[in-house]
């Protein structure tokens, strides 16, 4: 039984990664299982300088999901390299560092600096986090800006480059096609959806920033739709993310056209969520006598003329 998948020049032993921003720097999961079991570890978004993040309240649960407005709190590039990276190197799983910037130059600095570190196997570019003013939303929402950014990053690093797309756009397929044309090795979709929640009693927004990002099972149908539309139009692999709680959810993304998946909000319910998904996928393959997981990828049966 083969569970390995190729992503952007990397071979993952299985298609399950952590989603950026839901597993800290990865080390927080180490008390629960051996991180080497992951298909890949994607750590939280790193910026050039440390970011304090947003004031609380930063999270609120909504029906079938949650809103967050963490504000991309992180220790910054230098502290990450000095203090975090050495502890991550011993794990035998590709490490993908998510990067975020407020300008093309910042992204370029991050790609060049982090991309040249031993133990960083790939970069995922956050162009879509909706939480912070100027926090990347312009790149994620403007096709020309996105294409320019990816082209610039491609020149600065040879490491596999995944672009994490925002769902908060009119046409995500256009964004995907532009990123591919500019040299992206893969696409991660989707990031959170801009959303809000109200506390009627106080007539206040539940989040200090008013608007946050919606994640969890509530967004899975939207993520599946976007993976389906994008994966048919690009040749580079698509990494599906959005509301995966169990192996069945992950398998739906693969069938839909994703080559790999990321598990996000499920971490907050269960720190071992990724392992349960990996084991569930293996059980599914064994039960259905599927020799190679790649048989599943994009195997969705759609009758001619039935898709809009």
């Amino acid at each position: 039984m083969k569970t390995a998948v190729p992503i952007a020049g990397l071979t993952l032993k299985n298609p399950v990664m952590t989603a950026s921003g839901t597993c800290g720097y990865g080390l927080e999961l180490a008390p629960f299982y051996d991180l080497s079991r992951l298909g890949a570890l994607v750590v939280k978004g790193i910026s050039v300088l440390p970011r304090p993040g947003n004031p609380p309240p930063r999270v609120v649960e909504t029906c079938g999901g949650m809103l967050n407005a963490i504000g991309l709190q992180n220790v910054g590039m230098e502290a990450f390299i000095r203090e975090v990276l050495p502890a991550l190197r011993p794990y035998r799983t590709p490490l993908i560092v998510n990067i975020l910037g407020e300008s093309e130059e910042e992204y370029a600095t991050l790609a060049e600096t982090l991309g040249s570190q031993e133990g960083v196997h790939g970069l995922e570019v956050n162009v879509s986090c909706p939480n912070v003013k100027k926090g990347g939303i312009s790149f994620g929402a403007d096709p020309d800006a996105l294409e320019r950014l990816v082209r610039a990053l491609r020149k600065r690093t040879d490491r596999p480059l995944l672009i994490k797309l925002s769902p908060n756009v009119t046409d995500i397929v256009d964004m995907a096609v532009r990123a591919e044309a500019a040299g992206a090795d893969g696409l991660t979709l989707i990031n959170t959806l801009r959303a809000m929640a109200i506390d009627l009693k106080s007539r206040r927004p539940c989040l200090a920033t008013v608007v946050g990002g919606l994640s969890g099972p509530a967004i899975k149908p939207i993520a599946l739709r976007m993976v389906w539309e994008v994966s048919r139009r690009v040749r580079i692999p698509v990494v599906g993310v959005g509301g995966i709680l169990c192996a069945e959810d992950a398998l739906e993304f693969l069938v839909c056209g994703a080559t790999a998946v990321q598990v996000g909000t499920a971490h907050f319910r269960n720190p071992s969520a990724c392992i349960e998904v990996i084991e569930g996928i293996e059980a599914y393959l064994a039960k259905n006598r599927i020799e190679d997981i790649q048989e599943l990828i994009g195997s969705l049966k759609v009758e001619e003329g039935r898709s809009s």
Partner: protein, 277 residues
Amino acid sequence: MSVTAGTLPVAIPSVLFNRHLAAGNFLLAFDEPRLAELVRPGHFLMVTLPGVHDPLLPRPFAVYNVEGSRIEILCKKIGKGTALLSLLRTGDPLQILGPLGNGFRIPEPPAFCLLLAGGIGIASLHLLAKHSLRRGLPTVLLYGAKSGREIVPMEELESMGLELRIAVEDGTRGFQGLVTDLFLRFVKDMRGLSPIHTTTFVCGPPAMLRQVAGILKAKGMDAQFSLEARMACGYGVCQGCVTRALDPAHPQGWQYRKVCTEGPVFGLNEIDWQAIE
């Protein structure tokens, strides 16, 4: 007392009992020997209903009591999650992650422990009182609620020597007023007690914490506060539960610190009280 690698498997114990203790307050008990051995006062647990996806996220609960291998958590019916927990029956499964958090630092004798609980804040102070009394430390609990009906009985602690003083807003029991008013009276009368030998522990709603902090500062007393925060994960990955902590080394004078892994217990002078709403 931070957690170390390998000590945090997720447990799925079954409910031993679900007991009504006071208006809106119920006690959930389950057997978990590993946890019972690790738990210290001030630790908390993330509780999820296995297989239930609405609510999606676990809820944090302080450990209220440990009795042999039995763990007890005190819950107050507030929202959808706690309403579901209140319906649990003996034998129903629970998903438990923990113990989490840093916990209280209990002083060595000779010392005097002063505990201030507001409402469900009693949940994290009960086990602390048990430990301080066992250590032979004189322990006073000032315990406030809206009504006498909401006061959880403290007989076990009283039999161990706890001095209990109750304040309720509707005057149905003890002192009529807020626990902070009772506290003001108490500090006026405590001339005989040396503040140096007094350790104060506080848990309750933000407005109470602020007021108590003001009184303590005016009296030159120190204290340990157990903070409550909205959190998604409880073990440091979501970064949702931060509070502003003073940090003179930092250019802005403060830093966000995670209530789950860097707390929930913070010192009086660590907390940026301007940011507590």
